[in-house]
Every structure is written in C-alpha cells, then in structure tokens.
C-alpha cells in the first residue's frame, strides 16, 4: 500500500456532506454502481462493508481519483464527461457511501466449498465459465464477478440468463462491449454455426461456437445470419438447481471476489 494518501475524510459522518455526496454519486457513479450504491450489472455493491479494492477512506479516495486498471472503474474525470470531481466532492461521495454501508456484514448464506464442487461438477458451470484459469471459454470469466456484481445480479443471471446479457467486464462506457449475443449463421456451403458473438461490425462477425472454435465470418458470404438476445446459457430453474445450491455457488464466487 505504498504511496497511499494517509488523508482523513474531513467530512466524515457529516449528514449534509452525505446528502451532497448522494447527488454527486448519482451524477458520477450511479451509471455502474446503481442509484442506491447497491451495484448492478456493471459495478459492485458499495453498500458492502468489506470492499475488494479499498480498506479505508484514504484508499477509497485514491481509487475514485485514479481508477482501477484492468477494470471498468475509470479515473476521476476521464469518462469523457466533465473535468471530474473536486477533492471535496470526492470526500462527499465517500461520506455518502459510508452512510449507506450495511454495518454488520451479511453472514455468508451459502457454503463456498460446496459451491466450488458444484461449479466444477454437477452444476456444469465450468463447462462454459472460467474461474482462475480453469474452466470453459464460451461465457464470461467469473473470477472477478463476486467482487464486481451483487449476489442478486448473479442469481438473476443464473435464473434468467437472457434477461440481461453479460457485458464485457472492462470499458463500461464503450458503445459495443461484448454482450454474448447468440449468433446462428449458415455458411455458403450449408454449414450451420451457432455460438456467441466475440465482436461484430456491419460487415464481419467473430463467433465462438460451443466447442470453443472461433469462426471469422463475412456477413455477405453467408447464406443466412441471425442474431438473438436469447442467451446460449441454459435457464437454471429451481428444479435444475435448488436455491440452496445456487447460494453455495454464489458464496464460492463471492469468496473469490472478497479478500
């Protein structure tokens, strides 16, 4: 933690600062972290007392100021909108986040060890998802998902995979992040290819099929090309995966995200 500013929040516990911080949060942070700082499909739940990247106000100040490399968290003032926040406004936001934190960390509702067994075993998650270098490639790598998504968002993604397709974990504001849309294409020689979109423009599409083969296709050379927002991930209903088992998997993913 060398170089971390040892500054204390001059506005700590000031309710007026927390209110001002709430509005600054809405303008600058809520796009990814949600209106109530509870996180969402893009950014982690900041109401958790334990955070992956910051352990105190000074570190949080640094993270807001400088961003987190390799993640969608941008440095203050670099999202293309505005010149960013003043130091005072960053402290207001920190005060607001602290005011929203759930003081007692929720007890883990699941059994992470059992969740790991399920993930790599009967639940078949690892056929398509990689965690810490092990697993499949068709879906997003889930090594960081416990830290960057809420439990609710993960559960919803498992129960209703098509409701909101996954975004790439970086570049939150990019126009066209990888969304894992489903592509069905028929080539000139009649071969059908079904897979997820790795990238696409008006003329070409890059697809990974279920055997993890990458197909580089030119749209005007295809017999047919269809895209769907119906995810290739199967819908895990309660009959297929019980609430208890799902909570165990979430606990496993969360155990990777938190330190």
């Amino acid at each position: 933690m060398a170089g971390v500013c040892q500054g204390q929040n001059p506005l700590a516990h000031d309710p007026k600062a927390a209110k001002a911080g709430e509005y600054e949060f809405r303008i600058n942070c809520a796009l990814c972290h949600g209106l109530g700082a509870k996180g969402g499909g893009r950014g982690p739940d900041l109401t958790r007392a334990v955070k992956k990247h910051t352990h105190n106000d000074a570190e949080m100040f640094q993270v807001i100021s400088n961003g987190i490399p390799g993640t969608a968290m941008p440095a203050n003032g670099t999202n293309g909108q505005g010149v960013g926040m003043t130091d005072r406004e960053i402290w207001q936001i920190i005060t607001y986040i602290r005011s929203q934190e759930v003081k007692a960390p929720a007890k883990p509702v699941g059994n992470a060890a059992h969740g790991k067994e399920l993930f790599y075993g009967d639940a078949n998650c690892s056929l398509c998802h990689m965690v810490q270098g092990k697993g499949g490639r068709l879906g997003p790598d889930l090594s960081g998902v416990g830290g960057s998504r809420t439990s609710e968002a993960i559960i919803d993604s498992v129960r209703n995979p098509s409701r909101r397709l996954a975004w790439g974990l970086t570049e939150a504001t990019k126009e066209f992040p990888q969304e894992y849309e489903t592509v069905t294409a028929v080539t000139a020689d009649g071969k059908q290819i079904k897979g997820v979109t790795l990238n696409e423009d008006s003329f070409t599409v890059q697809v990974m099929d279920s055997s993890e083969r990458i197909h580089l296709l030119e749209k005007d050379q295809l017999k047919s090309f269809q895209k769907s927002r119906e995810s290739m991930m199967p819908k895990y209903t309660a009959e297929i995966l019980s609430d208890k088992d799902l909570n165990d998997i979430v606990a496993f993913l969360a155990s990777l995200g938190a330190k």
């Binding site: 809405r26 303008i27 909108q81 126009e175 696409e200 423009d201 008006s202």
Partner: protein
C-alpha cells in the same frame, strides 16, 4: 555561301530572337501566374460565397454556406466506389476523440486534433507542411473531451477557437500566430470546440460550456485584426426581450451555448446559428420559463449580430437536448426553407425568411411529446421531467442525433442524418452552482429495458418528413455524413469502418476498416484532377481515392 551563311546566321538570330521573346513572354507569364497564384491562395469572401464554382476545394465546415455537406465532384461514383483505396493516413499522435472536419484549399488540407493541435498537409500525400499546438493551461474545462471540430479559412489565415476560450488566427502558410484574442474566462467553464465560420470579413464563433452554467454567446471578430465586432448573448440580460423567460437570476448561469457551426445566407445576409441546452442541463427547477434562446435556431444579421428571428425547438429543456445540429438551407417547392434534424428526435422544417415552423416529424424513437402546440411544435408531456427515483424517456440524453453533421443531397433531394434509438433513465440530483464546476442537476443512465441501442443512417424527405431509406449500423455511431454528385453518401461507424453508400438505396457499396471509432464528418476534394474523400477516425486522418 556567305549570303547563305548570313542567311543561316540571320535565321539563327531570328530564332534566338524568337526564343528570347518567347522566354520573356514565358517569364512574364510565370510572374503573372505567380502573382495570380498568390492571389489564388487568398480565400476571399467571394470565393466562400461561390464555393460551388470550385468543387475541388472544401472551404467551410459544411462545405458551403448552405450547410449541405455536399460535393459536386463525381469522379468517385456508384460505378467505381467499390474500387476505392486508401491514399494516405496522417497520424496526429493525439489521444481521444477526433471530431475535426478538414478544410482543403488549392491542394492544402487544414485540420485540427485534440488539445488544439492544428496542421496543414499536402492533400495529395498527407505530408505535413506545418504544425501548431496551443499551450493550454492545466485547468481547462472541456465538457466532453479535449476536442476541436475544425477551422475557418479567410484571406491568408486560418482561424481556431481554443479550449481555453481564445480565438486565434494562424498564418495559412506557416502556422504562425497572427493574432490571439481571449473571448471569455475559461476558468468559469467557457471553451471553444466549434469550427468558426468566415462571413465577409468576420470570423463567427460560438461558445461551449452549457455543462458549466456559462452565459452563452456568439461572437464575430474582424479577420484582419481580431477586434470583436459584435456579440450576441444567447441568454438575454435585464431589459432585453426574452429575459422574462428565466426565473430570478437563473439567466446569469443559463447556458445556451453555441458549439456547432451555423450557416449563412448571402442573399439575406443572415447567419443561422443553433444553440444548446439551458443550464443546469437536466433540472428545470430554479429556471422556470421557456429559457430563451436555449435550444433554438437564431437568425442573426451578419453585420451587426442583431436577432432577426428565432425558433425554439425544445422549451425549458430538462434532457440536455442541445439544438446544436447543423441547420441546412434547402429550396423546395418555391420555398426558402431551413431544415434541422434535432437532438430531441424531431425533424423540423422552417421558413428561413420568417422562422415560421412548417413541419415537425419524429425521425426516431421519442416518448417525451405526444401533442403539438398551435404552431405545430411538439410539446413535452407531463411525464417527461426527471424524477428523484428516475424514469425512462426517449430519446436519451445523447439524443436521436447530436453534433454529427448531416448532409442534403440535391440529386436525391434527401436529408441524410445519423440517428440513434436509445432511452435513458433521468433522475434528479440537485447541485448548487459553483463557478467552473459541472452543473448538470440530474443524472441519466442508459435504460436497460431499451437495450440494444440502435444506430442508423436515415434519409428523410424534407418536404414530407418521411423517412425514405434507413441503414442500420452494428451499433450507434457518432459519424457525420457526406453526399457527392457521384450518387454516393459516405459515413463512418463506431467499429471503425468508413462506408460508401448508394445514395438512393443506402446499400453499402464499399467499406474500409480504419481501426478507430469515427466521431468526425467526411469531406470530398480534388487535387490535380483526382477526387479524394477524407475522414478522421481514431486519432488519424484518412484520405481515399481511386487506384
């Protein structure tokens, strides 16, 4: 023999004499041409007003005063467009978005890049002739990237508005600074990103800073000296007409910037200049009233800056729907019209003599208006205002279109515009005004239910508002559009493609992957009888031509 010899000598002498006189005549011609040549380097107001006579040149932001972004060049056409090849690439070595529209005059291209870089290139090869970069202070306040949309040219100078709110004249041959005038205080959020417009001997320019609560204005400077000839405040002060459309002192920080280039009608000596959002951009509380002249089209007398008429597209805006889209002058059905595809999702056609609305037709997904007033102007419904919990309104804050330049093709009589279907959740976030600090008053997020966001190139018939053709991009793009006499329309996309379309069908005929998203608008020009099409993408400028 002698005689013969003399005769030969005489012949030689005569030949030599002839050669001498020929040489003198040639020399005279060379001198004459070089003087003429120097004269040609001067971009006179007449040349700008008659730009149709020299389609090889692209002398103003929109290519001509009418705003059409149409080139009469037809060498590159629907027949051969599929054979286009890149001719050169110029890397600006800058990072961020490149929004510049280059100018080309007599074989030299003048363009800009991030952080107020300006440069002149050999338009045949892309080789730089001179480069300039403004030494900007560390605390400038650009709202949306350190961008610049291009320069104006007049006489032997090019003109640049800077991010620290100066207007600068550069010598067109060297890039040397000829004059440098501060227009406003950058520390309170004033900046220039717009390409100025040269009109007669004036350089007309509008301020940016609607996100900082500036008081918007349009200025005109003497091209020779930099002396300010007039200023039109887009937010009227006490005692001025329209002042009563602002609550209390809200006018002082009312915004209404003027950050995109307008057009000019030499026949009536009027400048048509569009204006942006009132400040704070997304919160109407505290500025009750129509908030004139935000989100309006202004018709100003070019000599005095006096307001002849105005038309306000979005009254009392709460969605950041700047009306700063290039208005295009179109003559149709014996009427002198001006058409604008507005950020609020409606396509407006006005009588440009009177400013009277002729039609307003939705050209994208809109939910904010379901009725029109007596004049035919779409009126906001009660559900449109942002709320504390947030609710969805279409279009989103980025608008159905934005700064991307449209084109009007006089061959198809269609208006082509880049459009986006996206809805945002608008939620209030009251903020006090602090000088030089972002002043939005609300937060907006892309609405999940409205995914995916769709991007289009649309062709609109201005006489009916009907969408005649539409091409769907892979995702929304920020590229402007060019039409040419070759039956083509050119545009770029967010994935980095530059695309030539058949203007009639909007079928892509050719494309090239440039490796960077497009935030700029294309132009066409010719050098040595060869046509080129150019556009900025990523942080480079590309020129294309036939093999």
């Amino acid at each position: 023999m002698n005689r013969g010899g003399r005769k030969i000598l005489n012949r030689r002498e005569r030949r030599a004499k002839r050669r001498r006189s020929l040489r003198i005549a040639l020399l005279g011609l060379i001198v004459l041409f070089s003087i003429l040549g120097r004269g040609l380097a001067q971009v006179t107001p007449d040349r700008l007003a008659n730009s149709a006579k020299e389609p090889q040149n692209w002398m103003t932001y929109s290519g001509d005063y009418s705003g059409k972004r149409y080139s009469a060049l037809d060498q590159i056409s629907v027949i051969n467009a599929n054979g286009l090849v890149p001719k050169w690439v110029y890397q600006t070595a800058a990072t961020g978005k490149l929004e510049t529209t280059p100018l080309v005059v007599d074989g030299i291209m003048y363009a800009t890049a991030q952080d107020d870089r300006a440069f002149a290139l050999d338009a045949r090869t892309g080789r730089p002739i001179w480069m300039y970069q403004r030494q900007l202070p560390g605390d400038i306040r650009p709202c949306c990237g350190r961008v610049n949309r291009g320069m104006a040219i007049l006489g032997d100078k090019v003109f640049l508005g800077t991010l620290d709110a100066h207007v600068i004249a550069l010598d067109a041959k060297t890039g040397n600074v000829v004059w440098d005038i501060p227009a406003a205080d950058y520390r309170t959020g004033n900046s220039f990103t717009v390409a100025p417009l040269a009109v007669k001997n004036l350089i007309v320019i509008g301020i940016s800073g609607g996100e900082y609560g500036v008081r918007g204005f349009i200025d005109a400077y003497d091209a020779d000296t930099g002396a300010r000839k007039w200023r039109f405040y887009t937010v009227p002060g006490p005692g001025e007409a329209g002042h009563d459309t602002w609550e209390g002192n809200s006018w002082k920080v009312g915004g209404a910037p003027a950050w995109n280039t307008g057009t000019y009608d030499p026949a009536t000596n009027q400048i048509f200049w569009p204006t942006g959002n009132p400040a704070p951009s997304n919160r109407g509380a505290g500025r009750a009233g129509d908030n004139l002249y935000s989100n309006s089209l202004l018709a100003l007398d070019a000599d005095t800056g006096k307001l002849n008429w105005y038309f306000q597209f979005t009254k009392h805006d709460e969605h950041d729907w700047d009306a700063t889209q290039v208005p295009i002058m179109v003559d149709a059905g014996g009427k002198k019209l001006i058409a604008q595809a507005d950020r609020n999702g409606f396509f407006y056609v006005l009588d440009r003599t009177t400013g009277k609305l002729i039609s307003a037709t939705a050209y994208g997904k809109t939910t904010w208006s379901d009725s029109k007033d007596a004049e035919g102007r779409p009126v906001a419904n009660k559900q449109a205002s942002p709320t504390l919990e947030g609710h969805t309104v279409c279009p989103g804050a980025l608008g159905t279109t934005n700064f991307m330049a449209p084109t009007y093709d006089p061959q198809t009589n269609l208006f082509y515009v880049t459009a986006r279907d996206q809805c945002d959740i608008f939620s209030t976030a009251p903020q006090p005004y602090e000088p030089g600090h972002a002043f939005y008053g609300s937060a907006y997020f892309p609405s999940e239910e409205a995914r995916p966001y769709l991007g289009f190139l649309k062709a609109i018939d201005p006489t009916t508002g009907e969408i005649k053709q539409s091409f769907q991009h892979a995702s929304p793009t920020w590229s402007g559009v060019l039409s040419t006499a070759g039956g083509l329309v050119f545009s770029g996309d967010a994935e980095g493609n530059f695309i030539a379309f058949d203007a009639k069908s909007l079928k892509p005929l050719w494309h090239f992957q440039m490796g960077g998203a497009v935030y700029a608008a294309p132009i066409a020009f010719a050098v040595d009888g060869k046509e080129y099409v150019a556009i900025a993408a990523g942080s480079a400028i590309y020129a294309f031509g036939l093999p």
